[in-house]
Subunit: 524 residues, 2 copies
């Protein structure tokens, strides 16, 4: 475990107790303790929920879907590319049927692992293998915090989330707008938001595929922020875009445009069908996964037709709906199974795997926590490589919560700690310490303990382990209460990452120029 | 998934909407939906945190501890048995050193799997293999519920917990006193409590090893409750007792007496060292596990010396303490690792494995949930066979919570659902349904969905998936609020299991006779 050099307990002990107590009460001056930047790796084999034969049956069925039923590709350029590649493109509709051999041969050029380059090289992330990269929540329409309540997405909250994502080392990627800042006009929102990504953080970020101009702007701003040439950008994937199919069995115009723009520049695509079993997909988990797989491979195939070798991530988002109300459900047993089998499918095709830390709770209560940890159980055991919505997601994606972000940071750090190997050197086996203490002794004061106690165990940010009397005396705080303190403190500790003035000037010039041109046309 | 025949949604739909709404609001009349009785089995391979070599290193070190340092066996009969078996018994102290070959040879007679017999044979439980048996919380000193607050353990609460354990099918075993009923005099408490176990439930239960008379009474009452002969009882293990070592490296008089009484009658022992890393055990996880293993194998060896083949379960309870305060911590990354490696050790010796669903939270908030689900993650992936404290445990074991019991029932059911295999028949793969719906369609109304929607997904007891407006309108309830409704409803639905009058009379006669004799002497 690597932790920051200054730990509250030690600092407190060096001060007189009253001072330490006051500081602890005010929450001031003691820096938040967190893990150092690093990408967790999962050293254990991935969990397999279905057998190889069953996995093959899902694959075969998804090939039947692509061959016999087909997918609607609602984009002329995409259809032309598919036709040229030998797919069966219906001249009178958008339907494209694809031979299974064409699918499996075409996707073989996609890399099993690649690096996403950040403007700060120390924050580059590996995607694939046994690497884990955690993304900030993306795309909710509302923000919530305990004090301020629920409100529409706005620029202030948007920036607060970015600062927190920059601050917390366990968050590796800005996975889209943490909340949609509706106070920015849609025609220029992408310009202002991506400038915020680039300036307020130095981590890898995402651009939405919402039309030709927006995604091109995103690519160019990424290049400027990194201060590199077009050629270097094409050698070094630095931006990613989520492509969702419009399930069932459709890829929309802007999505296919996103693939064409991003893949042709060798930037990364995350191909994620949105297949809720019982709604946009069959009510059976296996059936929903058949459809997920057909849609995912259709999009992945497209990336490789555009540019063989272009980085692409297999995305899974299959969950179920509440059959009583139709409401989406997340962090359920069905979600766990789907997320793990999704990983099996991705590995079958030698592709990195994207999955998510999700829940459908309305407040940061036990439900929010159990649905999230069930999700993380599945994403971790199923070897998710890119964990979308890793911190801050609530209400099935409608709400970005500042308190949930802190809770998730703690959960993600605990997962990272869980994945760090147990040491079994002679010193760790501690026979001498056991001998020294002997029956009926105690280990608190021993040298073996003293040498290790500072870093022996993960110190949670939120867990309240006071005895009941002290906890009552403190006002019976819940996890949410503590989290509300922590995000405010983290914001106060946030430091804007350095950006070279020449780059900053170029970025601002680009944005101002594009804004003066009117951004992009919007149809409302 | 097997569910009760009557599901609220269906019943509601058959009624007019106002009536359904009223019923839903009052919570009356709609039976709680829960899984049918069954023991979950884990079809997946157990997770391995340490390699075979590392596991062997832990084993070897624990053998060094037993050979070189030894264990204090504070019981003359036990020492005589050990001496006879060839152990090195220090004549001037309680220290016993045991040769590694003697340990490993002796424990070989313990069964890898066995049945614990309940008075209702339908509630027998398999212990070992890939079976999971969930126990009600055991041994807290206080009860808590949202309305009544925190209070000392008492008979009323004690009985409420028993009724809930009988009511909820996912709870398989009564794992001791769910809360210590201090309003019953210590001299006769065991008689009245075990009578309650036997009358209010028909599931397997536990008796404390708290001296010769108490454990003998427990065995006899178990025999009477089952209505069987002494011989049949010895053929059919029907009672179990937890044996904790007084870590480090001690087995107390009453514990060893428990082993001798229970094992000689072929009843089950759960041998669980209480090794908190940094307190009663080394601060390193590996060191704490070395000590756990030495203490566990010492007790397990004792059972087999008393009666080769007597059922015994390898217990692990290694966690860490908060090094700032000394408070025990549970559901931590360190707990997860220990719990999984504990399973590796148990399987190394072909023994069933006991582990626990634990947390150290003060209230049923996010912390209670995440510590519990992290625990269940480890107990499940590590193939725990007997899950102690599976429902209701709070505050590191000081508090039994009625709301937490309901939360845990939901969590345990979700784990059971997660472990149920995904079906991949042609119907499940759903190609025809995907064809029928086609691009841009919807699966809600299809025949494939209609045929399956009632049982396709696990219906959680607590999860609130309403949209935010409806949730606000309902008063912003948390998981704890909902749980507070559910346990009351479950108590109202509880039905006392049938007991033959002759058995009931015999049980009462025994208890009254023993009470009239004064129970057992107490030294306070």
């Amino acid at each position: 475990m690597t932790v920051t050099a200054q730990r509250p307990a030690r600092k407190g002990r060096r001060q007189n107790s009253r001072s330490a107590k006051n500081r602890a009460q005010s929450g001031a001056n003691l820096k938040i303790e967190q893990l150092a930047w690093s990408q967790p790796r999962n050293p254990y084999p991935p969990m397999q929920i279905v057998s190889e034969d069953e996995l093959q049956a899902i694959h075969d069925a998804s090939m039947d879907v692509l061959e016999q039923i087909g997918i609607d590709f609602i984009n002329a350029d995409a259809k032309a590319i598919l036709k040229k590649a030998g797919a069966n493109v219906d001249p009178s509709s958008d339907r494209v049927r694809i031979d299974r051999d064409l699918v499996t041969e075409t996707i073989k050029t996609a890399p099993a692992q690649f690096t996403l380059h950040a403007r700060n090289p120390a924050h580059n992330v590996e995607i694939g293998g046994n690497w884990i990269a955690n993304c900030l929540v993306g795309s909710p329409v509302a923000t919530h915090d305990q004090e301020g309540g629920r409100r529409d997405g706005n620029t202030k909250d948007f920036r607060s989330f970015l600062k927190l994502a920059q601050y917390f080392n366990i968050l590796h990627i800005i996975g889209g707008y943490p909340v949609e800042p509706v106070d920015r006009h849609a025609s220029i929102r992408h310009l202002e938001c991506i400038r915020d990504f680039a300036e307020l953080t130095d981590k890898v970020f995402h651009a939405y595929s919402l039309g030709d101009q927006r995604i091109r702007d995103g690519i160019e701003m990424t290049r400027i922020a990194r201060g590199i040439s077009h050629e270097q950008l094409e050698r070094e994937p630095s931006l990613f875009s989520i492509i969702n199919s419009s399930s069932p069995l459709r890829l929309d115009d802007v999505m296919l445009n996103g693939i064409i723009n991003m893949s042709s520049r060798n930037q990364a695509i995350v191909m994620t069908p949105f297949t809720l079993a019982g709604a946009m997909a069959p009510v059976t988990i296996a059936g929903a996964l058949v459809q997920q797989n057909a849609e995912a491979l259709a999009g992945i195939m497209m990336t490789q037709l555009v540019r063989p070798g272009a980085p692409v991530i297999y995305g899974g988002f299959t969950s179920n709906v509440d059959m009583k109300s139709g409401a989406p459900a997340f962090g359920t047993p069905e979600y766990m199974k789907s997320a793990i089998i999704g990983g099996q499918l991705a590995r079958k095709y030698n592709l990195p795997y994207r999955t998510s830390n999700v829940n459908a709770a309305n407040t940061v209560d036990a439900q929010a926590a159990y649905e999230s940890v069930f999700s993380l159980w599945a994403t971790t055991m199923g070897h998710g490589n890119m964990i979308k919505h890793a911190a801050g997601w609530m209400e099935g994606g409608l709400q970005a919560s500042l308190e949930k972000l802190v809770l998730d940071v703690d959960l993600l750090q605990m997962v990272a700690e869980f994945l760090s190997p147990v040491q079994t050197s002679p010193d760790d086996l501690a026979i001498d310490a056991i001998r020294d203490v002997g029956p009926a002794g105690h280990f608190f004061g021993t040298q073996h303990t003293q040498e290790r106690y500072k870093t022996a165990f993960y110190p949670p940010i939120l867990s309240d382990w006071r005895n009941h009397e002290n906890w009552l005396e403190a006002g019976s705080p819940t996890t949410m209460n503590k989290a509300a303190q922590v995000w405010k403190q983290a914001l106060s500790e946030y430091e804007k990452p350095f950006m070279d003035k020449a780059i900053s000037d170029e970025l601002n010039s680009f944005v101002e120029q594009r804004i003066s041109e009117g951004g992009v046309p919007v149809d409302f």
